[in-house]
């Protein structure tokens, strides 16, 4: 099973992306979603803990997604987009909550 690694370099970049960036993305998503849930009326503690509980599912989906996107460039582009979107969302909600 000689995988179409491209080469070992690209493969290790992908693994690191999945593990580290994937974790960061998961945290961002959970924060963004829990803030949204708070707007929708859930208490802070319930929103936080439920998103923490769901985070493992989100993390696995993110990791699987990282390994399924064909080109690395496309992958990075998507990652940047989703990071910006969730950061903006978190920022806006924070403004709104204050």
């Amino acid at each position: 099973m000689s995988i179409t690694l491209g080469n070992k370099w690209l493969m290790s970049i992908r693994v690191l992306t999945a593990v580290i960036i994937g974790y960061g993305l998961t945290v961002l998503y959970t924060v963004a979603i829990s803030k949204t849930l708070m707007i929708l009326g859930l208490t802070k503690v319930n929103a936080t803990v439920s998103m923490q509980l769901l985070s493992f599912l989100i993390y696995s989906i993110v990791v699987m997604w990282v390994f399924s996107v064909a080109s690395l460039r496309k992958l990075w582009l998507h990652i940047t987009y989703s990071m910006i979107i969730s950061l903006v969302l978190i920022y806006l909600i924070n403004m709104g909550l204050q």
């Binding site: 099973m1 924060v31 509980l53 493992f56 699987m64 390994f67 064909a70």
Partner: protein
């Protein structure tokens, strides 16, 4: 990266599962044994009195109360643990609480003073001192603490990474087989090639799939606060303490009043508690004993899972013996969801049948990991047989799959053979287990041959099958006595050990035929 989605998922399934597969095997095996940890502990303490269950709870409580009144009349915190269907032990614990510290209604806190535990033999009303051992509890704790890792968080992180890989392995596995899942499942071919290994892997995976998903996910849920602190920090502006307080509100604390008053009739309260639960009592704790603020709290034998946690406890005022409500704050709904997940994981609610089912599912999970690891080598046998990586995986498979059961057997043997009065005895038992495992790995890596499978399986078979027989010579708690006395926990332990031996003998026999053909 890969041409199709399924193919890349298949790649991920292979490598994510392989990476910490051996650790996962260890976690699953020790965790599965954990479902019978109390039974194992009982077996590992042969000095415990036999057939304690013949006493009624009323008699046992009386004996325990008399003992406490004699030994610790001034202690503010008493705890009585009664024998139940799983544990044949009557024990009392007391501790001296600092006056300024308040104890929570459930019995936690109160400035941990020196705690003393006595196990009482109800026949003679004397104290029993069983040999010092980690028992089944140590095996159980290994599966999330990894014995030699001292810093708890480090152990949690390692186990957490393994669990994450397991979860990814499960989800990718489901994706690969999604379409043919039913078909693959009922196809269990018993021939001798890769197919039979694959069938075995799929069979054990799909059969207990709900269990595998539940156990992996709920395992992660245990330490959700260790694994995902950033989410909480972001929502609570970096104030972790505030978050913990909201997520896990403290139980109401009961201050000592300093006015001496005698305790009301415990027997009356016990009767009321039994009627309230509709099931026998597991433990009784008396908080602020001898004070006018005394509270008596009972827990039930089979805890419930889905009702609120308060349903498992009932409180009485120690002075007039009337039932009182628990005024502790309720846990938030999301925390309750986590509690249910962890409750499912631990299986505390399970009666004996459900417990066996948990055990069976755990064994299936262990087999799933083992077959998966073997398939990795089977697939690469033809092409990469002489590469270093292949040899490494092949040998590690032997060390883990065939070697770990030997290590566990050595743990049991160490319990029987290490002299009773050796200092740090419990630690030495565990050391023996890991030294045995190390010895197996040195042996396997130096011999470097598939024949080691057979040797190790036969060794396992011998070690397990001889354990129940050794009881005739080493402990006196042998089958003839335990059956006559009706101590079914010990009977089952001995029988299971013997059957495990037989199963390993059968496996060794099969593998031997396969290798020689």
């Amino acid at each position: 990266m890969k041409d199709t989605f399924t193919k890349s998922m298949s790649w991920l399934h292979t490598w994510a599962s392989l990476l910490l597969g051996w650790l996962l095997f260890f976690i699953f095996l020790t965790g599965t044994l954990g479902y019978f940890q109390k039974e194992i502990t009982q077996w590992m303490k042969p000095e415990l009195p036999i057939s304690v269950n013949k006493f009624t709870q009323q008699e046992l409580v009386q004996i325990a109360m008399n003992h406490l009144k004699k030994e610790a009349p001034s202690s503010k915190k008493w705890l009585i643990k009664l024998p139940n269907s799983r544990e044949n032990i009557l024990s009392v614990t007391w501790s001296h609480v600092r006056k300024d510290k308040a104890t929570a209604m459930g019995g936690h806190g109160g400035g941990r003073g020196k705690r003393t535990t006595h196990i009482i033999n109800p026949h003679t009303k004397e104290i029993v001192k069983p040999r010092r051992t980690g028992g089944g509890g140590l095996l159980y704790r290994m599966h999330y603490r990894l014995h030699y890792v001292n810093a708890r968080t480090v152990g949690r992180y390692i186990v957490g990474i393994a669990s994450m890989l397991m979860l990814i392995g499960l989800i990718t596995g489901i994706i690969i087989h999604l379409r043919k899942i039913l078909k693959d499942f009922f196809t269990f071919r018993q021939d001798r090639n890769l197919h039979s290994w694959l069938d075995g892997h799929i069979f054990t995976s799909v059969l207990a799939l709900p269990f595998h998903l539940m156990i992996t996910y709920s395992g992660l849920a245990f330490f959700v606060f260790t694994y995902m602190p950033l989410t909480a920090l972001a929502n609570y502006d970096g104030d972790m303490r505030n978050y913990i307080q909201e997520a896990f509100p403290r139980e109401k604390a009961i201050k000592i009043q300093g006015i001496k008053e005698p305790l009301a009739s415990i027997e009356q309260m016990r009767k009321n508690a039994e009627a309230y639960f509709g099931s026998p009592i597991k433990s009784i704790s008396i908080i602020n004993q001898g004070d006018s603020s005394a509270i008596v709290n009972f827990t039930r034998e089979n805890s419930t899972l889905f009702s609120s946690e308060k349903a498992d406890k009932v409180y009485f005022s120690g002075i007039d013996g009337k039932m009182i409500e628990n005024q502790s704050p309720n846990r938030p709904k999301a925390t309750r969801a986590r509690d249910i997940l962890t409750g499912l994981h631990r299986g505390d609610f399970a009666n004996i049948y459900a417990r066996w089912l948990y055990f069976l599912s755990g064994v299936l999970g262990t087999f799933m990991i083992a077959t998966g690891l073997v398939i990795w080598t089977k697939k690469r046998e033809a092409k990469q047989k002489d590469t270093l990586g292949f040899k490494l995986v092949d040998n590690l498979n032997m060390v883990t799959i065939a070697g770990l059961p030997i290590a566990v057997a050595v743990y049991f043997w160490a319990n029987r053979l290490i002299p009773i009065d050796v200092p740090k005895r419990a630690m030495q038992e565990a050391d023996a287990m890991f030294i045995a495992w190390l010895a197996v790995s040195v042996f396997v890596f130096s011999v470097n041959s598939r024949k080691m499978w057979v040797v190790l399986f036969y060794l396992s078979a011998t070690l397990y099958a001889l354990l129940p027989i050794s009881n005739f010579f080493l402990t006196g708690r042998h089958l003839a006595i335990t059956i006559a006395q009706g101590d079914w926990t010990l009977v089952w332990m001995d029988l299971m050990l013997f059957f495990t031996g037989l199963a390993f003998w059968y496996t060794g026999h099969k593998v031997q035929k396969k290798i020689s053909s």
